[in-house]
């Protein structure tokens, strides 16, 4: 299927975003071909930053949202119409800085949405400042002597918040990433994939990730075991990628709506209103 648009791609040559975008295209194409997903039911949203341009590069329904708010935006869509498949793309500064509350609460309420984070540990479009996931000592334009803060741990954050699908991928392992995206899109509940995605201009981490990542699925990790997932989320020497944790829990939208589809046309409840008024 054709997911291309006429928008000119303005990412740097070699940018990790390409790997993420192409993996997502593959995942969507395969799921549509397999009959597991309908492209017209999909809506994507993004925040602000290099990753934000993703919405322009995909021929899908989209809402180019604000810094940190894409997950809130798609949550609203899912409340309005639970038949939609909604995906938020966010950067690491976007998701864990400006928008951290929304990530935590989206996991807490288990809204049926997918959040894919372009995690490159640097603000690219604003030309190289440290982010919530930057290593301690990271020298950026706002931290010229090196970051004095500990980096945030996105996987532990989402696990602790109640996320029902928690995974990490690496754009250098494309086929594996496509598999993760497919699982995330099919998961009923809040799915979170933190994607390691080097910024070739301000924080080129390709070689580091190539050397230290390993695939969880190759080592017999039990993704239904929270304690095991918690342990894997906290590993730093070797970096595990793959599905850390997946459980089923009732979704926020199902519990809230109980079959109601607010976006579907219907007559206003005039007789109910008359009744409510007459009771007073």
């Amino acid at each position: 299927m054709n997911l291309e648009t006429y928008a000119e791609n303005t990412w740097c040559k070699g940018c990790g975003n390409f790997g993420l975008l192409n993996s997502f295209k593959d995942a969507v194409s395969e799921l549509v071909e397999e009959g597991a997903l309908r492209a017209e039911n999909m809506v994507i949203s993004s925040g602000i930053g290099c990753h934000g341009k993703t919405v322009d590069y995909l021929n899908l329904n989209s809402f180019y949202s604000l810094h940190g708010r894409a997950i809130s935006c798609v949550s609203g869509m899912k409340i309005a119409n639970p038949n939609l498949t909604v995906v938020a793309f966010q950067g690491d500064g976007d998701a864990f800085g400006e928008g951290i509350a929304h990530v935590v609460f989206s996991a807490k309420r288990n809204i049926d949405a997918t959040l894919l984070v372009h995690d490159n540990s640097v603000y690219g479009l604003t030309t190289g400042q440290f982010t919530p996931t930057s290593e301690k000592g990271f020298k950026g334009k706002s931290t010229p002597r090196g970051s004095i803060e500990e980096p945030m741990n996105p996987l532990a954050l989402v696990l602790a918040s109640g996320g029902t699908f928690v995974a990490r991928g690496f754009v250098g392992k494309r086929k594996h990433l496509v598999g993760l995206f497919k699982k995330a899109l099919l998961h009923k509940g809040f799915s979170f994939v933190n994607v390691l995605q080097p910024c070739v201009t301000f924080n080129n981490t390709y070689s580091r990730y190539r050397e230290s990542t390993y695939i969880l699925e190759d080592e017999g990790h039990d993704a239904t075991d929270f304690q095991a997932a918690w342990g894997k989320a906290r590993e730093t020497e070797r970096i595990p990628i793959g599905l850390l944790y997946q459980v089923e829990r009732p979704t926020f939208n199902d519990l809230l709506l109980e079959g109601l589809v607010p976006a579907e046309p219907r007559a206003p409840p005039l007789s109910a209103i008359s009744e409510i008024i007459s009771e007073r």
């Binding site: 039911n41 949203s45 989209s62 609203g76 869509m77 309005a80 409840p269």
Partner: protein, 554 residues
């Protein structure tokens, strides 16, 4: 002698059931065929402090409450100190004889009685209701019926207390012989309830809000009625989440509203501009409170007018309107929801505690509300562009799923398909397209009720919002003054106001220290000869406002 107008004040601590007693007195008056206005004054605390309710009623419409009362019921000593001077000549003060001793008035041993029947402190309010009822000569069986409908818990104890009150007050029974009518003149609703129901009548599908007084009761009311009305009601983590969820919801085709007070709406500021840029319909209920920052949460004021008119970075059209009473709140809430969907713009219903949390006799017909369908795209799908250029500036909408095309909305400047652009020509084109809607909105407004005029006179008392209610009561006692209310504040209906104000002197009354409304009128070219301002968190008391109007005319 039969008395038509009656004001009752009930005061006590939070936890004494003050508001409930005010509500039940209102219901009683309504059942007696009388129009009611009830103002509840309460502090931002859970227990103790001082709360009071004022119920003014008459067989003809009552637009606002009066602070001088015929009957004052004081459930504690503090209420006596605060309210005793507000008693009108010939009025009756009922007080709690267990906590205070007075030379005049009617002392009832409230605490003792409640203890005797093993009741709870909340029942002090019940004693207050029974005292008012006895003074007004209401038959006990009638009161019992009101109690049955309004005290589902502890009914027997409440009736028992009422009996004790009637017994003790035998000599004063019927001291106030009230004018009554056969049937209740309408139903009692608070402004926020009327706003919620008006939006529901216009097809509200989703309401999202974070609690903030005095907007919270819209959230509470809709949450309680969500099943009955078929409306999804959500209380998320922050106001920022509220508004961004709301935009997603509206993009997906659900008529969505949000509500907050100034501080919470300040957090929505960024996404309000996103609504403007992405042309996503958004209805905001802005219930302002007095003072900047946290201000005075449970009191009334109109200091957010400039904020409502100017909120948002960048330039985009929006609608700001402010209703006065519950009837108008119902109609205008419905109208605003229709308009924001017709023009795909954000709109603000600006209100205050004086409307939002006061109970008024309300006469509305839900069947009179029509849902205006938004302009939907019906052309060839492959040609669809979310931001198609049109003469009116309104681009036909589609909601996902729309097989055969995609719907792309954007916060970034974009082309007609919704794809990002930074080209000079396209930026200009889109800015102009959006701005054209301003003109289209003004054209639409020419057929709408944008201002109201009440009475006749060579002087116009110009107001907006719930201050109009105080003004309508005030001018009952001032000659040659009409009240002119401006409902639409942006776009400003200058054509309608010129007509209403022709050849009259203008006095502006508002609850603002800097005179924001007066400044708005001046900026639209209107001469203002005098202004009356109040900024103590209280609505105008009609007689005081009347005196200030008379002073301004001389």
């Amino acid at each position: 002698m039969v008395q038509d107008f009656l004001t009752v004040i009930v005061g006590g601590e939070a936890g004494h059931g003050v508001k409930k007693s005010g509500n039940v007195i209102s219901i009683l008056m309504n059942e007696l065929g009388r129009y009611v206005f009830e103002m509840d004054d309460y502090q931002s605390l859970i227990r103790g402090g001082h709360n009071f309710s004022v119920v003014s009623s008459s067989t003809s419409p009552v637009y606002s409450h009066y602070m001088s009362a015929d009957i004052i019921v004081c459930l504690d000593k503090r209420s006596v100190d605060i309210h005793k001077d507000r008693l009108k000549d010939g009025g009756t003060l009922v007080y709690n004889a267990d906590t205070v001793t007075l030379d005049s008035g009617t002392g009832l041993p409230m605490k003792t009685w409640i203890k005797d029947i093993k009741g709870i402190p909340l029942m002090a309010g019940t004693i207050g209701v029974a005292a008012v009822s006895a003074l007004c000569g209401v038959e006990f069986s009638f009161l019992e019926r009101i109690f049955k409908a309004n005290y589902p818990r502890g009914l027997e104890a409440n009736v028992e207390l009422a009996r004790m009150v009637y017994e003790r007050m035998k000599d004063d029974e019927g001291k106030f012989e009230l004018a009554t009518a056969e049937t209740p003149p309408g139903h009692l609703l608070a402004g926020n309830e009327a706003i919620a129901l008006g939006a529901a009548a216009a097809g509200l599908d989703v309401y999202i809000a974070y609690p903030m007084t005095p907007a919270s009761t819209v959230l509470h009311y809709l949450a309680a009625l969500s099943k009955k009305l078929g409306i999804a009601v959500v209380h998320p983590e922050t106001e920022i989440a509220v508004v961004n969820m709301a935009l997603g919801s509206a993009y997906a085709g659900a008529r969505t509203a949000v509500g907050s007070s100034g501080g919470g709406f300040a957090l929505m500021h960024e996404a309000f501009s996103l609504a403007g840029m992405s042309e996503t319909p958004l209805m905001v209920i802005l219930a302002s409170r007095p003072g900047p920052s946290t201000g005075v949460p449970t009191y009334t004021g109109q200091g957010d007018l400039d904020f409502a008119l100017n909120v948002g970075h960048g330039e985009f059209p929006r609608i700001v309107l402010s209703p006065s009473g519950t009837n108008q709140a119902f109609e205008k809430a419905a109208e605003l929801l229709n308009l924001v969907w017709k023009f795909q713009v954000p709109g603000i219903l600006l209100t205050e505690k004086h409307l939002g949390e006061s109970w008024m006799t309300t006469i509305i017909d839900p069947e009179s509300v029509k849902v205006t369908k938004p302009i939907l795209y019906d052309g060839p799908l492959e040609q669809y562009g979310r931001y198609e250029k049109t003469d009116s500036g309104i681009s036909p909408m589609l909601y996902p799923p729309a097989k055969g095309t995609v719907v792309k909305a954007s916060s970034y400047e974009h082309d007609q398909k919704g794809i990002t652009t930074e080209e000079a020509g396209k930026i200009e084109e889109m800015q102009e397209k959006r701005y054209r809607k301003e003109k289209a909105i003004v054209e639409e407004m020419r057929d709408l009720l944008t201002i109201t005029t009440h009475g006749e006179g060579s002087t116009s008392l110009v107001t907006y919002g719930s201050t109009t209610l105080s003004a309508l009561e005030a001018v009952k006692n001032v000659d040659d003054v009409k009240v002119v209310q401006v409902i639409y504040l942006r776009p400003f209906p200058d054509w309608a106001l010129w007509e209403a104000l022709s050849d009259s002197e203008v006095i502006v009354a508002e609850l603002s220290v800097s005179g924001q409304f007066e400044n708005l009128l001046r900026s639209e070219g209107f001469d203002v000869s005098a202004h009356i301002r109040q900024y103590d968190g209280r609505a105008f008391d009609p007689p005081e406002l009347a005196a200030r109007v008379r002073e301004a005319i001389q």
